[in-house]
């Protein structure tokens, strides 16, 4: 396994400050994880160890919570976060094919990030735009009524606009 990068000093301080703000109470773990992920984008092992130490709970417990909730992630998100809706409406209108196509074009699996850090891929259930099914969101932007053939073009455009 690749050795994890050390967190920068200021990141360590920020995480510790988040824990302090919540009184280092074990009951605040989920709130702390939320804020830490908001700040850093993801929750690497070292960050979980810092939180465990501050809250005086085993690191295994922190990891248990992080892996239980799908919102938390241990992999850094790409600059552009792609979410494919697999809710009922999108699913019946072929969002699985879209997902396969995105996986093929970017050569990553769900939950992964491209090596250049540009794109990360996730699935979700319903963004409330069922009328536009099948729906994919990239960053804040919603793409509706997509077909597999549109995927490459859209991804190229997003990448080109960087």
């Amino acid at each position: 396994m690749a050795k994890e990068m050390k967190l920068a000093c200021n990141v360590v301080e920020q995480v510790e400050a988040i824990c302090d703000k919540h009184g280092n109470r074990p009951g605040e773990l989920i709130n702390i994880l939320h804020e830490a992920q908001n700040m850093h984008g993801y929750l690497p092992e070292e960050m979980q160890r810092i939180i465990a130490r501050k809250l005086n709970i085993p690191a295994s417990k922190v990891y248990g919570v992080v892996t239980f909730y799908s919102f938390f992630t241990m992999t850094p998100k790409g600059k552009h976060s792609i979410s494919v809706c697999l809710g009922t409406a999108c699913y019946v209108r072929g969002s699985e094919k879209l997902l396969e196509e995105i996986k093929r074009v970017l050569n990553i699996e769900v939950g992964e990030t491209t090596p250049d850090g540009k794109f990360s891929l996730d699935c979700l259930r319903c963004v409330g735009a069922c009328g536009l099914a099948p729906v994919v969101t990239i960053g804040e932007k919603v793409y509706g009524r997509l077909e597999s053939k549109d995927v490459k073009k859209i991804l190229d455009e997003v990448a080109a606009n960087d």
Binding site: E45, Q48, P58, A59, S60, K61, Y63, G64, F68
Partner: protein, 589 residues
């Protein structure tokens, strides 16, 4: 006053009166009704407990309630009418068991837990003959082989007993449930291997696992090979606690002392010499006792830098614990090796020279109530040019299996004595395997050496019993020696935290990682949550001690001879080289 706190209810056809707060499961037991359980464990009088009420095997029907209730987590109420064996109850339990089986490998025939598995017992009890839900996908989970523990999570039934003991009893906190749904598993920190975490290999997770998910690393095949190799001299050293539990593997009642049968069985298995770790235990007292006296004398002479309390160092899980978590306090534990490692060091030097057998030809096998001993034997500092002092360690259970495999009729074996000279021992060594025992053995010697007087009362009752942390004060010619005994690592942590905070006022501290000490070790026959088994073993320990002609380590004639012929005196240069060790910071940063 008494009656106010008692509650009367009806369970099946019995009227039952029990104290308020009693769970239905325990209330039913008082009238001989044994409700089946799986996730639940409660080793009463110790902190070994797991009561998540998650498996629902113990459901019962309560009149006036719509749903079935888990007996393990439902408290009695006045006038409650409970049915523990109605058709509805029995059908529900059976379905629950069938659902558990639907995500279980069902390779019972070759499972290491076969015939000792709590799930298998339920299947027999519920008369399950088909597996109606077994056509689906099964989850694929991690398998791991550490020096001490084998992990096969495909067999896990999510009772979370292992997680409870790892966190609550041992405070090590390595195990936790991770992920969710079908991907749930119980895993070491960050889903790593045990060996990459601060796991101490205490093995209490194995001791409570109801199925074959967590078991010991099995060395019996390797031992069979060595026993049949004519070029090797294979010597056995069973630990003090083994002889009080081995009989259980053959259906003998808990607490049966099988010392003599075990010695015979070891020879029948083909061991060239049946020695005894008890010899190593007496030797440990000589060295550790001398170290206690050495530090005490310095302390009394006004030396401010002397490290007190001195702590025992026999328990390998405890050693791992302080190396992982208290690297700033490594000067406190005694430098004395454990009895098993002292035995190995002496066997492969003193005895080997005496017999004219080269070290490499000797295979020293320890038989231990413990799984951490398997790891301890592999530690680099216990090897000479790559050759270990103790080649490997097998558990009490493994010895039982080996004896059965060799078609030895254990129950009807005649008694025999251990071989000389590494087989002689005193009552002080016999009690090494129980919480408070190492302390008591040390006190018997320290008292007599320090005061020059004979002990008026040889039994130190204050350090006996299953209380988590025990204290005692001993009068040494006017000096009040304060001692403390802790068992389970969560109690040890309390002691260490107090030491770190500068709030610990003892001179000597004993720690054993397992509940009850080695008699409750992870290599012992499974207790399945029955505290009576541990109590019976404890009573046997003190019976064996009382039956010994010699009950103080320094009176062991073969130990005296060993010092005269070979070591000189306790803590001599030679003794230091062979019988003492050092510790290192193994904390995970």
């Amino acid at each position: 006053m008494e009656e106010k706190n008692m509650i009367t209810l009806t369970i099946d056809k019995h009227e039952v009166t029990v104290p308020a707060g009693t769970m239905l499961l325990d209330a039913a037991k008082t009238v001989g009704i044994s409700i089946p359980t799986l996730c639940h464990i409660d080793l009463k009088g110790t902190c070994v407990q797991n009561m998540p009420a998650s498996c629902r095997i113990c459901v019962v029907e309560i009149e006036g309630r719509r749903n079935l209730a888990p007996a393990c987590a439902t408290r009695v109420t006045p006038g409650m009418v409970v049915h523990t064996n109605s058709a509805r109850v029995i059908r529900a339990r059976k379905t629950v068991a069938e659902l558990i089986l639907s995500d279980h490998p069902n390779d019972c025939l070759t499972c290491p837990k076969c015939s000792d598995c709590e799930l298998q017992r339920l299947v027999m009890r519920f008369n399950i003959r088909t597996m109606p839900y077994n056509n689906g996908e099964q989850s694929v989970r991690k398998q791991e082989l550490t020096p001490a523990i084998t992990r096969n999570m495909e067999k896990c039934v999510y009772c979370r007993r292992c997680e409870s003991v790892c966190n609550n009893v041992q405070s090590v906190g390595v195990l936790s449930a991770i992920r969710r749904g079908f991907n749930t598993t119980i895993a070491p920190t960050f889903d790593k291997m045990f060996s990459d975490t601060n796991c101490t290999y205490c093995g209490q997770c194995v001791a409570v696992c109801p199925v074959g998910a967590l078991t010991e690393r099995d060395y019996t095949d390797r031992l069979m090979d060595d026993l049949s190799d004519p070029d090797k001299v294979v010597i056995a050293q069973p630990a003090p606690a083994v002889r009080f539990a081995l009989g259980e593997e053959f259906g003998m009642p808990a607490g049966t002392i099988v010392t003599g049968k075990m010695a015979t069985a070891l020879r029948d298995l083909g061991f060239d010499y049946a020695f005894d770790t008890d010899f190593g235990a007496d030797l440990t007292i000589m060295e550790e006792g001398a170290e206690i006296l050495h530090r005490l004398k310095k302390f009394l002479a006004g030396d401010k830098d002397v490290k007190l309390p001195i702590m025992t160092s026999c328990c390998p899980a405890w050693v791992n614990f302080y190396e992982h978590e208290f690297p700033d306090l490594l000067e406190y534990p005694s430098s004395a090796k454990s009895p098993a490692q002292m035995f190995g060091a002496i066997a492969k030097t003193y005895w080997a020279e005496k017999m004219g057998i080269p070290r490499e030809k000797i295979v020293c096998v320890s038989i231990m109530p413990c799984l951490a001993k398997k790891y301890e034997a592999e530690r680099e500092e216990f090897k000479v040019d790559g050759n270990p002092d103790v080649d490997y360690s097998i558990s009490t259970r493994e010895l039982g299996r080996l004896i059965k495999r060799a078609n030895i009729d254990f129950v009807n074996l005649p008694d025999s004595e251990f071989d000389s000279p590494l087989g002689e021992s005193t009552g002080a060594a016999a009690i090494f395997g129980i919480t408070g025992g190492v302390m008591e053995a040390a006190l018997r010697t320290v008292y007599e050496v320090y005061t020059g007087k004979t002990l008026p009362h040889i039994d130190f009752n204050d350090v006996r019993g299953f209380e988590g942390i025990k204290e005692a004060t001993i009068d040494l010619n006017g000096f009040e020696l304060k001692v403390c005994v802790a068992h389970t690592l969560s109690n040890a942590r309390k002691v260490m935290d107090a030491l770190r905070a500068g709030k610990l006022n003892y001179h000597v501290v004993e720690v054993m990682a397992c509940p009850g000490g080695c008699i409750g070790g992870a290599g012992q026959p499974y207790h399945h949550g029955n505290i009576e088994i541990l109590k019976a073993r404890a009573a046997a320990v003190y019976r064996e001690d009382e039956g010994k002609a010699l009950r103080k380590s320094h009176e062991n004639p073969d130990i005296q001879k060993l010092y005269k012929e070979f070591l000189g005196e306790p803590m001599s240069e030679k003794a230091h080289h062979l019988l003492h060790t050092h510790y290192s910071d193994k904390s995970i940063k």
